[in-house]
């Protein structure tokens, strides 16, 4: 039997149509280990030919076979997105080449996006400067709205678009000890999410993990592209994507200290952004007519609940960041409702 990387190369060279191959050169590989030694993460293979500086393709493989569902979700939704909006998708996301199984391992093969990941943005000099954050936020909001508009389509079977938010709220209660006030806020939030969904006539494809670490500034055209669609889903509510970008940015800037301290610092930064960043961001996104965007407080609380229980629901364990999201939930109870 061949080595895994050799089988990967053979498979990559077999891709293409009847009369042409996508790749013709022998491939060299760079293997990037994501997440240190987190066995719930993926390993990323960048395939090179002998001539080009940039990789020809990217292959994602889970460290543990049972986590292949994440890559299948990513492949299915990238494929749906490409089918839905056609070649315009090249401006936003990688092209899905194939989902296959090699040596019992699920393998997702996609195109490489040349550019800089926004994870390079400095915690202090960038995220601490509201002018710069505001400019980026406006750009992110416009790109997200454009993409949402492109995938917007009528809801045909509302039952298939259940939010599952109640299950997430139940898990949140199960994992974390809530005060009576927090419990009441959570119950109200569940009701709001459910009732607002009933008003929507259209669904959009949301990315599900919409933070700056999953954004790449295209090297050639300078526009933002979005990667890592493993938590993507169709939804009538875009709040998760819209507000998660703000919360994740604030938490990234508040990098030091305990979970409680980080949540407190991030909340303080979010409050500072109320004057400039958040209004510009939400204004650039605009108010959707056919699908739901919750109010700031509700949308941010929803993000905290979803993030705090994601590891427990998807992988059956509690991630070290879960408590931070739970603390952020607590802080956001003090968020003043917008006018």
């Amino acid at each position: 039997m061949k080595s895994f990387v050799d089988d990967l190369a053979v498979f990559a060279l077999s891709l293409g149509g009847r009369d042409h191959e996508l790749f013709s050169s022998p491939l060299q590989w760079v293997i990037l280990s994501n997440g240190d030694a987190d066995f719930h993460d993926n390993v990323i293979f960048f395939g090179f030919d002998e001539k080009q500086t940039d990789p020809l393709l990217v292959a994602k493989v889970p460290r543990l076979i049972e986590n292949g569902w994440m890559l299948k979700t990513e492949y299915d939704h990238l494929t749906e997105l490409w089918n839905c909006i056609g070649e315009k998708a090249v401006n936003y996301v990688p092209r899905p080449y194939a989902m296959t199984t090699l040596q019992d391992r699920p393998v997702l093969m996609i195109s490489y996006i040349s550019g800089e990941s926004l994870t390079r943005l400095s915690r202090r000099s960038f995220w601490g400067d509201s002018e710069q954050v505001s400019a980026l936020a406006g750009e992110v909001a416009r790109a997200l709205r454009d993409l949402n508009q492109l995938t917007e389509s009528p809801v045909e079977h509302s039952a298939s678009l259940k939010s599952h938010f109640m299950e997430k709220a139940d898990k949140f209660r199960e994992i974390f000890q809530l005060t009576p006030n927090e419990d009441q806020v959570l119950s109200d939030l569940v009701r709001t999410v459910e009732s607002s969904m009933a008003t929507a006539s259209h669904k959009v494809l949301i990315q599900g993990d919409f933070w700056h670490g999953n954004m790449i500034r295209d090297a050639k055209h300078g526009n933002l592209k979005f990667v890592d669609w493993q938590f993507a889903r169709w939804s009538v509510d875009v709040s998760m994507d819209v507000y998660f970008f703000l919360l994740a940015g604030a938490l990234f800037a508040a990098a030091d200290g305990t979970a409680e301290q980080r949540a407190k610092d991030a909340f303080g930064l979010l409050n500072n952004w109320r004057a400039n960043v958040i209004p510009k961001y939400l204004s650039a996104y605009g108010q959707p007519e056919h699908y739901v965007l919750l109010s700031q407080k509700q949308g941010m609380l929803l993000c905290c609940v979803e993030k705090a229980v994601r590891s427990a629901l998807e992988f059956g364990y509690s991630h070290s960041d879960d408590l931070m999201w739970r603390c952020f939930f607590s802080e956001l109870l003090h968020w003043q409702a917008e006018n």
Binding site: F39, R63, Q103, I175, F176
Partner: protein
């Protein structure tokens, strides 16, 4: 009085000190048949079990001599040859490699991880011999191994962040992405890459994995 929020059920994920991504350089579907030899390390042993390589396939170097012919699909020495078991001379290492060839199945591989001799920081506390790509290739050739292929590794054998072919494109990409937050170091690497070609620079990586067939 409000208390600090705490999880009621805190099942934390097991945090491992090893990623075992060298598995992807081998036929990973046969992983449960890999023999893995290393100096006593309970944590490493538990990590191997976590990915389905059973304890019965974990070997001490003392055990290697007692193993029967063709027992393994592939043999993995993820940290190389132990100082306490294999002599420092070239001939000692060749002899050791020759002595383990019979353990590997006819379609199996040998994988050897090793720190570069220039990797002083890692070598100070290491229980394993350091080496260079040229020496390893030479030793494996002399011991009768074939199709020897070297992969560069940044920055440690335990949790390698990058493992890559030693071609120019792959090396350049790995350097750029590994050191992009260290512009001074990246500039030095670019100057060096211009002064001597990347093939020569490949001799100065911190560690490597070598794979070979029997």
């Amino acid at each position: 009085m409000q208390t600090h929020p705490q999880p009621v059920h805190p099942p934390q994920p097991r945090v491992f000190n090893y990623s075992l991504d060298w598995r992807f350089l081998l036929p990973i579907a046969e992983a449960e048949k890999f023999l893995v030899a290393f100096e006593n390390d309970v944590d490493f042993s538990q990590t191997l079990e976590h990915v389905g390589i059973p304890v019965s396939n974990h070997l001490s170097f003392q055990d290697i001599r007692q193993k029967e012919k063709g027992h393994a699909h592939s043999l993995v020495l993820p940290f190389g040859l132990p100082v306490g078991f294999v002599g420092a001379e070239q001939k000692d290492k060749v002899e050791f490699y020759r002595s383990i060839r019979h353990l590997i199945g006819s379609k199996g591989y040998l994988l050897v991880g090793f720190n570069n001799v220039w990797n002083f920081r890692a070598n100070i506390q290491s229980k394993y011999h350091s080496s260079t790509p040229r020496r390893i290739v030479d030793q494996l050739n002399q011991a009768g191994f074939k199709s020897i292929r070297i992969f560069g590794t940044l920055s440690s054998l335990g949790i390698p962040e990058y493992i890559f072919d030693l071609g120019a494109q792959a090396m350049r990409f790995a350097f750029y992405h590994r050191f992009r937050r260290k512009p001074v170091l990246l500039n030095v690497l670019q100057v060096l890459a211009r002064a001597m070609d990347l093939a020569r620079m490949s001799n100065f990586l911190p560690c490597y994995f070598a794979i070979a067939t029997v």
